[in-house]
C-alpha cells in the first residue's frame, strides 16, 4: 500500500503487539522508552497536511489526532498523525498493530494492549487521551460493513 497508509511489518496483529512489547522491554527507563516511541512517530509516512482538518480529526481532549482509512484486498489500511509527539508515537504503534489487517482481525484485537504495555493508563476512561479515541475510531471503521 502506498504512503501515507501504513503497511504491516508483522504477519498478525498479535505478533505486532508482541514485537512492540519486546522492543520496549529493552529500555529500563521510561524516558528512554518515550524517546523510542517518539522516534516511531517521526518515522510514520508523512501525513498530507490537507487532511489535517475537522473531517479527519478524531475528537480527543488534549491533543489533536487525524486519521484516514482505505480499503484494499479485503484489508483496511490507515494513515494517522498527531500534533503531540508522544501521541504520534502511540498512533504509530496502533497503526503497526491495526493497519493492513482484515476487519475481523481488527475487531478481534483489543486495544487494551496499550495499557498492558504501560503506555496508556486507564485506557477506557481517560477521555483526555486521543489514542483511546483513535483505537475506538479504528475499530468502529472495521465494524462498519463495506
Amino acid at each position: 500500500m502506498e504512503a501515507p497508509f501504513v503497511n504491516p511489518q508483522e504477519d498478525t496483529a498479535a505478533e505486532a503487539i508482541e514485537a512492540i512489547g519486546d522492543e520496549l522491554d529493552v529500555f529500563d527507563d521510561w524516558m528512554e522508552r518515550y524517546q523510542y516511541i517518539i522516534e516511531m512517530g517521526r518515522k510514520l509516512p508523512p501525513f498530507p497536511p490537507e487532511w489535517c482538518n475537522d473531517a479527519h480529526r478524531v475528537p480527543g481532549c488534549q491533543s489533536q489526532v487525524w486519521l484516514e482509512e482505505k480499503e484494499a484486498d479485503g484489508r483496511l489500511y490507515f494513515a494517522g498523525l498527531s500534533d503531540a509527539a508522544i501521541v504520534c508515537g502511540l498512533v504509530a504503534l496502533l497503526l503497526r498493530v491495526y493497519s493492513g489487517r482484515t476487519r475481523e482481525e481488527i475487531q478481534a484485537t483489543d486495544p487494551g494492549f496499550l495499557r498492558d504495555l504501560g503506555l496508556v493508563q486507564a485506557l477506557s476512561t481517560n477521555r483526555g487521551n486521543g489514542v483511546e479515541a483513535m483505537a475506538r475510531a479504528i475499530r468502529t471503521a472495521a465494524a462498519v460493513s463495506a
Binding site: W30, M31, Y34, Q35, I38, C61, Q62, S63, Q64, D83, A84, A85, I86, V87, G128
Partner: protein, 417 residues
C-alpha cells in the same frame, strides 16, 4: 511636611511542612517518585480535617435533613445549616439566607442563567469576557438561545487583562442586564479588577456575577466590598469535597427569581393544581442535598480560616514569583499571560514540545500538571494556541517542587532538541 511612618504588617509565614503533614495524599508516590502535585487549580487535595469530618459525619451523625422529627435528623440539619453561616461569613455576605448550596460553580452559574435569565427581556444583554471558563460561557449561550437576549464578549489585552475601555464601550447603550465575569482566570492567572468592574456595571444599570471558583482559594473574599450581586464558587478547589458549590446572591434578586429545579424541600405548599415556593435559600435547593459534602465544605472553610488568608496569599504570591523566575530560565519556555495582578496559576508553552508531551513526561517523573484547553476553548483561540501546560499552586506547595518542575522541564526540552 509631615513624616509618616509606614505601618509594617508582619507577614505570617505558613509552616508548609506542618501543613503538608495534614494531607495524607502528599505522601504518595507516583511512578516510584514522590508526588509533586501542581494541579490544585483543577481540584485541590484534601486535609485530614475534611476527610475525618466527612467520615465522622457518616459514622456518627447522619440522617436526612429538614424533615426528620428525630434526634439524628436534627443534629445533621444543625451541622448542615451551620455551614450556611460559615459560608456567609467566609464571603462576608449580609445574611445566611442569601447562601444557596449547589453541586458546584457550574450549577450555581446555570441557576442564575436560568432563574435570573427568566427575568430578562429580548433585547437585553449579558456581558462576559474572553477569558471565561466554559462554565461561565455555555449557560449564557443557552440563555441567549431560549430567551432571545444578546451575549456580548469583552475582549482581553495581549497581556491577559480585561480591556477596560472595550468593556466600558460594551456597557454604554445600557442594554446589559448582567455582567458575568471571572474573578480569577484559570488559564492566565489574571485577577480581574472586580470592584472596578462592578462599579462600571452598576453605573450602566447592570448587575454583576463573579465566578470566584479560582479566586476564593487564594485571598479573602468580601462580596459587599466588591459590590457584587452574585458570586459563585466550588468546594473541591477550596480543599473541600466535590459535589458541593455555592451561589451567593443579593436577597432582593434571589427573591424575585423563579426556582431552578422543582421537587421536595423547595416548596411551601403543594396541591395537584398548584405549588407555592419556600423562602430563599430553600426555594433553590430542591431535593436531598449533598449533606455530607456540605458539612465537609464547612470543615474545609474552618481549616482555611484557621490558617488565615494573610499567610495563604503571601505564600502563594511568593511561590508564583518564584515560579515565574524559575520558568523564565527554561530554554524555549514561553509564559502565557502577563496580567497586572495574578494568582497562583501559570500557563506556559515550550517551543517544539506539545503541552500534552510535557504533561506526559512530567507525569513519569511524578509531577502532576494540567495540559489542554482548560475548558476555555474560545480563550485558546484568542491566544492563538490549541493548548497550554499549566502549573498551579496551593497552600501545600513548596518552592522545591517548583524547582523540580523547572529542572525536569529543562531535561524534557533537551529530549526534543
Amino acid at each position: 511636611m509631615s513624616t509618616q511612618t509606614p505601618t509594617v504588617h508582619a507577614v505570617p509565614q505558613l509552616d508548609v511542612h506542618a501543613i503538608r503533614q495534614q494531607f495524607p495524599i502528599l505522601g504518595e508516590k507516583v511512578h516510584d517518585r514522590p508526588l509533586v502535585f501542581l494541579d490544585s487549580a483543577a481540584s485541590a487535595q484534601k486535609p485530614n480535617a475534611v476527610i475525618d469530618c466527612m467520615a465522622n459525619t457518616m459514622r456518627h451523625q447522619y440522617a436526612n435533613i429538614h424533615r426528620g422529627l428525630h434526634w439524628m435528623s436534627e443534629r445533621t440539619t444543625e451541622a448542615y445549616e451551620g455551614v450556611r453561616d460559615l459560608v456567609a461569613d467566609f464571603l462576608n455576605a449580609p445574611s445566611r439566607e442569601e447562601i444557596v448550596f449547589t453541586r458546584n460553580s457550574t450549577e450555581a452559574i446555570n441557576l442564575v442563567a436560568h432563574s435570573f435569565g427568566a427575568l430578562l427581556k429580548p433585547g437585553q444583554a449579558v456581558l462576559i469576557s474572553q477569558m471565561e471558563h466554559h462554565a461561565n460561557l455555555v449557560p449564557w449561550q443557552m440563555l441567549r438561545d431560549w430567551a432571545g437576549i444578546d451575549l456580548r464578549v469583552a475582549p482581553i489585552t495581549d497581556d491577559g487583562d480585561l480591556d477596560i475601555e472595550a468593556y466600558k464601550a460594551l456597557l454604554a447603550d445600557g442594554k446589559v442586564a448582567l455582567v458575568a465575569i471571572t474573578h480569577m482566570s484559570n488559564v492566565l492567572g489574571t485577577i480581574t479588577p472586580a470592584k472596578q468592574i462592578a462599579d462600571m456595571a452598576h453605573a450602566a444599570g447592570a448587575q454583576v456575577l463573579f465566578d470566584g471558583s479560582q479566586s476564593v482559594v487564594h485571598h479573602k473574599t468580601d462580596v459587599q466590598a466588591l459590590g457584587a450581586d452574585f458570586y459563585t464558587f466550588t468546594g473541591h478547589k477550596l480543599y473541600g469535597p466535590t459535589g458541593i458549590g455555592v451561589l451567593w446572591g443579593r436577597r432582593d434578586l434571589l427573591e424575585q427569581m423563579p426556582p431552578f429545579l422543582g421537587g421536595g424541600d423547595m416548596i411551601s405548599t403543594v396541591t395537584f393544581e398548584h405549588s407555592t415556593w419556600a423562602n430563599i435559600p430553600h426555594k433553590f435547593e430542591a431535593g436531598t442535598p449533598a449533606i455530607v459534602e456540605t458539612i465537609g465544605l464547612g470543615a474545609a472553610i474552618e481549616w482555611v480560616n484557621k490558617i488565615g488568608f494573610d499567610g495563604i496569599a503571601a505564600h502563594e504570591a511568593d511561590l508564583t514569583t518564584h515560579a515565574l523566575q524559575r520558568l523564565a530560565t527554561v530554554p524555549g519556555l514561553n509564559i502565557v499571560g502577563h496580567p497586572r495582578v495574578r494568582g497562583g496559576v501559570v500557563s506556559f508553552t515550550m517551543a517544539d514540545v506539545h503541552p500534552h508531551d510535557i504533561a506526559t513526561l512530567l507525569d513519569r517523573n511524578g509531577i502532576a500538571i494540567r495540559a489542554g484547553h482548560h475548558c476555555a476553548e474560545p480563550l485558546m483561540r484568542r491566544l492563538g494556541l490549541s493548548a497550554t501546560a499549566r502549573a498551579s499552586f496551593g497552600i501545600y506547595t513548596q518552592k522545591e517542587e517548583i524547582d523540580v518542575l523547572a529542572d525536569t522541564l529543562v531535561r524534557i526540552r533537551d529530549f526534543f532538541v
